[in-house]
Every structure is written in structure tokens, then in C-alpha cells.
């Protein structure tokens, strides 16, 4: 089972692939360090530029960006108490007080080493867990695949929390967008309004750039951030290798936080910020000196950073094996696989083992490179990048979005579609409609429809075929558990609280 994993290693170790990972890590750190930009946004903008690249090169860039951005978010969190990414909020609790007391350099070194350890643990979990899971899912027929898609959509909506109605509406929008174009079985045009450009459906990159890149660009323009400039005294000048022995006492935190991050990563809808908060709380609960936390305790930085990086590759376990992305970044990465003709799911492991296993190696390499690149980038010079004017950044991103989308087919129609989805995404974001279900709906909608229709053909139109075997029934039960579980839990907790009150 793991032989294919080992066989994929030589393909990854060539210079161009390694350079792609290195470039991705650097780009990820830069993007993560700039408040308002996220890994999701960076990968969305990057996707169209990877069309002409080999799949492994493109995936290496993405793996590097994901790893780098998770750490990059710690830089402004430590130096300015402005988390570069939502996952870095917990890092600022102790990182910023450390910077205030002249230990900013050490805080960033703890962050980069912890991020690297979390990333390595996560990549190893992906390597160990994904292949056996894919073997199981290979046995699925079209009815089971249909239920897996339904389960994936339901799990992200209900586990994301927030307003369920809005989550369901987002998913419905995504599924509806996936329907636009020529019906793959009957060849009938659906909602194309006689536009030739819509016959092939709506390109996932157009949707991704619109939803994930345009709203942050507008945010950058509309709300110029007045940040204190970074002072050089906030950073230390000690080498990372000199400070490493001082960090070894965090080994328990690294281990615990890696496990928390991996677990949260596998759960659909949870994400890096939840992993960082949970890990921070657990580490503080287990600390012998909890009173020092929040005042500049390096272990707090280690806990938060290990967990938010341990979430990265783990989020790809359900994404690669079942085609169900657990987080927005994983959903965007699935988009990246799709544009290179790779359909996420169990068949991916059979049809393109070199790519899928190579991707796993790239995650591991990205996490290893992080300690070298992140350590050297956490300098006074790099920190000055945080003072880059936001309106200027917003206007450059506007141009990059245009280039990325225009270069897909070389037509303005896609640019206007991107702007349309961007406007929808901005309003949805402001009205607190979750965006990941839209992407998931687009990915899983046509996939679910195709398998539903195939199952009905096999069953000669008999709908009972959808529940004919144990796996399908189990998946339906899981879906119902995901839908009703939170309600039952809330009801149970309310009853318990009222009993205790009385």
C-alpha cells in the first residue's frame, strides 16, 4: 500500500519541483504576513497561472503556500498584534507581549519551529491515513459515491456552525452553478442563455477568484489599516540554531498540539483557528505556570502555531480520499486538482498515484523548508514589508486577478463572470453566508448528479437502489447524524443546564 508512496519520492526530488515548493513557502509567508490576505486568497489568485505547469509543480506551489501562509500569519500577530490570518489569533496572545519585551525574534523563532513540527506531523498523518482510506473508498459504487457527496455537503454546512439556513443556501447556490452548461449525459443546454461561453459550464477558477480574491481586495481598499510601524528593537538578533535548545522543553506541547491539529484538520468545517484555540487552551490547562500565559509565555506561541500548521495536510485527508474538502483552502486545492484534470476521490490514487503521493511529499518538504526559510525571513527587513500601503496592495491584486482569469480562455467574458461572483461573494461574506459550501457545492454538485443518474440507470429507474446496500445505509445514517447531531447536542446541553439550575 505504501510502496507507491515511496516510488513517488524520486519524481518530487528534481530541482524544478523543489524550487516550486521553496517559491510557494516564500510566497505563502509573504501573503500570510500581510493582514487581509490569506492562503485561500493566494492559492485562488495563483491557480490560473498554474495552467501551463506540470501538475506536480502547481501542487508544490500550493503546498508551499499553504504551509508558509500558516506561519506567515504569526509575524504581524507577534509584532503588531494583528493576526495575518484568522488561525494566528491565538499566537498574538503571548507573541505580542514577548515582542513588547524585546523578545519578538525569539517568539517568531518559536513560531517557525513549531509551525514546521506541526506541518511535518500533519504531512506524515496524511501519508499514513490517506492510502488505506482510499482503498476502502475504492469499493464504493455510484450510489455510495452519491451519498458520500451528500454527506460532504451536509457535514461542511452543519459543522461550520452559524446559520444553517444560510449554509444550505450557499451550498444550493454552488450546486446550481455546477449545473450550468451542457448536460453531460443528454447533451441538453442548461441555463446557458444561448451564450457559447457557458456551454462548458462555469470554470471553477473564475468562481474561486471571484469569491476568495475579490472581497479581500475590496477590503484592502476600503479599510486602510493604520498599523504601528515595526521597530527593530522588537526582534532579537540571535540565530535560530542557538535558540533551538531552549525550545526543546516544549516537546509535550508540540506532540499534543500536533494531535489536536490533525484531528481538527480531518473534521470537515473546523479549520486552523479552531485548532489553534483548542491547542492553546489545552496547553495552558496543562501548564505548571498558567498565570504567566497571556503575558509572554513562549509555550503559548508554540501551542497555537503547532496546531494551526498540523491542520494543513490533515485537512486534505477527506479531500483527497473522498473528494470532501474540510476547509476553504482544501476546497480551493481541490479546484487546483480539477483544473489539472485530476478528479479528487478514491480513483485519484489509482489513476495518478505519482501526482497524489508526490503532493504528500511536497507537503512534508514544505514543512521542512519552512524552518529554514521562515527563520531567515523573520528579520527586520522582512518585517518592514508589513508597512506596505494597503491601497497599493489592493490595486496590484486587482490587476493579478484580471490576468489570472483572463488567461484561462483569453476572453473578457470570464473577467465579467469573476466580477459578478466577486460581488456575490462580497455581499455573502458581509451577510455571514459561508463561502466554503458554495465551492463544495460546485465541486460535488455535478459529481453527485452524475453518480445519482448512473445509479438510477443501473437500477433501471428504481430509487430504492440508493439504499440497497449496507454502505449506503451507513452513509445515510452518518449524514443524518451530522444534520441532527448539533440539534440533539444543543437540546441535551440545555436540558442538563436547566436540571442543574433547578
Amino acid at each position: 500500500m505504501y510502496m507507491e508512496l515511496i516510488n513517488a519520492l524520486p519524481g518530487v526530488m528534481n530541482l524544478s519541483n523543489l524550487m516550486a515548493v521553496v517559491a510557494g513557502v516564500i510566497a505563502g509567508i509573504v501573503v500570510g504576513a500581510l493582514p487581509g490576505l490569506s492562503a485561500t486568497m493566494a492559492i485562488s489568485v495563483l491557480l490560473p497561472f498554474t495552467f501551463g505547469l506540470e501538475p506536480l509543480l502547481a501542487l508544490g506551489l500550493m503546498a508551499g503556500i499553504y504551509n508558509g501562509a500558516m506561519y506567515g500569519g504569526a509575524i504581524p500577530a507577534v509584532l503588531l498584534r494583528i493576526p495575518g490570518t484568522p488561525a494566528a489569533v491565538a499566537t498574538s496572545f503571548d507573541g505580542y507581549p514577548m515582542a513588547q519585551s524585546g523578545q519578538g525574534g525569539y517568539a517568531l523563532q518559536v513560531a517557525v519551529v513549531s509551525s514546521s513540527i506541526g506541518g511535518i506531523a500533519s504531512a506524515i498523518a496524511l501519508m499514513l491515513l490517506a492510502p488505506p482510506l482510499s482503498k476502502v473508498t475504492l469499493l464504493f459504487g455510484s450510489a455510495e459515491v452519491f451519498w458520500v457527496a451528500v454527506f460532504g455537503l451536509c457535514s461542511i454546512i452543519f459543522l461550520l456552525g452559524g446559520n444553517v439556513i444560510k449554509g444550505l443556501m450557499s451550498a444550493c447556490l454552488g450546486v446550481f452553478i455546477s449545473i450550468v452548461g451542457t448536460d453531460p449525459i443528454l447533451g441538453v443546454d442548461r441555463y446557458t442563455f444561448d451564450r457559447l461561453e457557458l456551454l462548458d459550464g462555469i470554470n471553477i477558477v473564475v468562481l474561486l477568484v471571484g469569491l476568495y480574491a475579490l472581497p479581500p481586495a475590496i477590503d484592502l481598499l476600503e479599510s486602510p489599516l493604520r498599523a504601528d510601524s515595526v521597530k527593530s528593537k522588537q526582534l532579537g538578533t540571535e540565530s535560530i540554531w542557538q535558540t533551538l535548545p531552549r525550545m526543546l522543553r516544549f516537546w509535550k506541547t508540540w506532540l499534543r498540539s500536533s494531535l489536536i491539529g490533525i484531528w481538527i484538520g480531518i473534521l470537515p468545517g473546523a479549520g486552523g483557528s479552531m485548532a489553534a484555540f483548542m491547542s492553546y487552551n489545552e496547553a495552558r490547562r496543562n501548564s505548571k505556570t498558567p498565570e504567566t500565559w497571556g503575558n509572554g509565555e513562549p509555550e503559548g506561541v508554540a501551542a497555537a502555531e503547532t496546531a494551526n500548521n498540523a491542520d494543513t495536510a490533515a485537512a486534505l485527508i477527506p479531500a483527497l480520499t473522498l473528494g470532501i474538502p474540510g476547509t476553504a483552502v482544501a476546497a480551493v486545492m481541490l479546484g487546483g486538482l480539477l483544473i489539472h484534470g485530476l478528479q479528487p476521490g478514491p480513483m485519484l490514487f489509482r489513476e495518478s498515484p505519482d501526482v497524489v503521493f508526490g503532493f504528500m511529499w511536497q507537503f512534508l518538504l514544505g514543512a521542512i523548508f519552512l524552518v529554514f526559510l521562515g527563520g531567515s525571513l523573520a528579520t527586520n527587513t522582512f518585517a518592514k514589508l508589513l508597512n506596505l500601503p494597503r491601497p497599493l496592495l489592493g490595486s496590484v491584486i486587482m490587476v493579478l486577478m484580471f490576468i489570472g482569469v483572463y488567461s484561462i480562455h483569453g476572453r473578457m467574458f470570464d473577467v465579467y463572470m469573476m466580477l459578478f461572483f466577486g460581488a456575490i461573494g462580497y455581499v455573502m461574506d458581509k451577510l455571514k453566508f459561508p463561502l466554503p459550501p458554495v465551492v463544495l457545492g460546485l465541486i460535488l454538485g455535478s459529481f453527485a448528479e452524475e453518480n445519482l443518474r448512473l445509479a438510477l440507470r443501473i437500477g433501471r429507474g428504481d430509487w430504492s437502489i440508493l439504499l440497497a446496500n449496507t454502505t449506503s445505509q451507513f452513509l445515510v445514517l452518518m449524514t443524518l447524524a451530522v444534520i441532527f447531531g448539533p440539534f440533539v447536542k444543543r437540546h441535551w446541553l440545555a436540558r442538563k443546564a436547566s436540571k442543574q439550575g433547578s
Binding site: 476600503e222 489592493g394 445519482l452
Partner: protein
Amino acid sequence: MTNHQWRRCLRPATLTACGTLVLVSIFIPTTLGLPPISALLPGAILAALSVLALLLLIQDQREAAQPQQEQTIGTTPHRALQAFALIVGYALSVEWFGFYPSTAVGIPLTAYVFGYREPKGLLLATAIATGGIYLIFSYAMAQEFPSGLLWSK
């Protein structure tokens, strides 16, 4: 209609729900014209969307009945609209005037309008961005960009 009732009707979530119902009604005739098996998923989604939009409308109006509830789309909606208008304007300008002239004007103009007004910085950023794009995309990758409908006519 009183001012309070009017404001209840103009709440963003209420408008979204009503807009969704209008869109669903626009798509229904097209869906009915499709072969049954092709219309299966779209029909189901449109039905689900109309039910969800109604639920959202009811939920939002119940929230609005509480006097302290106030909903806004953003803290600075006019600035967001301005930003979006500039981005759309840039896209239109690329189509009509060509990519490079529009980019050379669009980058400094957008940054200037939104508060960055240092001439040296604007000039330098525009030169780096436009020059970098030319070198990477037009020169190295032979990527073609719109040359402008105005000039081609």
C-alpha cells in the same frame, strides 16, 4: 407604510430572501422545459432554494421585530461600492483601451483614490508592477492581453 416597517422590508437578509425568490421564479420556466432526468437536480435545488429563502425571510423578520436589531452590510458601504466600481471600471477600460494603458493608469489611480498619495511610491509601484507583468507574461510567457476595442476599430 411607516418608517419602521419600511426599514424592516429593506433589511439585507430580507432583500436577499426576496431576491432569491425572484431568481428562482425566473429559472422555473427554463427548468420545466428540460427533459425530466436533466431537470431532476435543478428542480430539486430551485425547490430547496425557495423553501430556504422563505425560511430566511421569516427568520429575519422575526429578528427585525426585536427593536434593538439593526443590520448593515458593511461599516463603509460607499467605500466598498467605490472600490468595486473602480475594479469594474478597470475591467471595462482594459477591454476598450487595452491592458497596459489601463494598468498603468489603474494601479496609481486606485491607490490614490483609496488614500495612498505619495507620488514617488505610486510611480515606483506602477513601474514595478507593469514592467514585471510585461516581462513575465508578455515577454517570457507570450501571453496576449486585450489591445483595446477602441484602437482596433
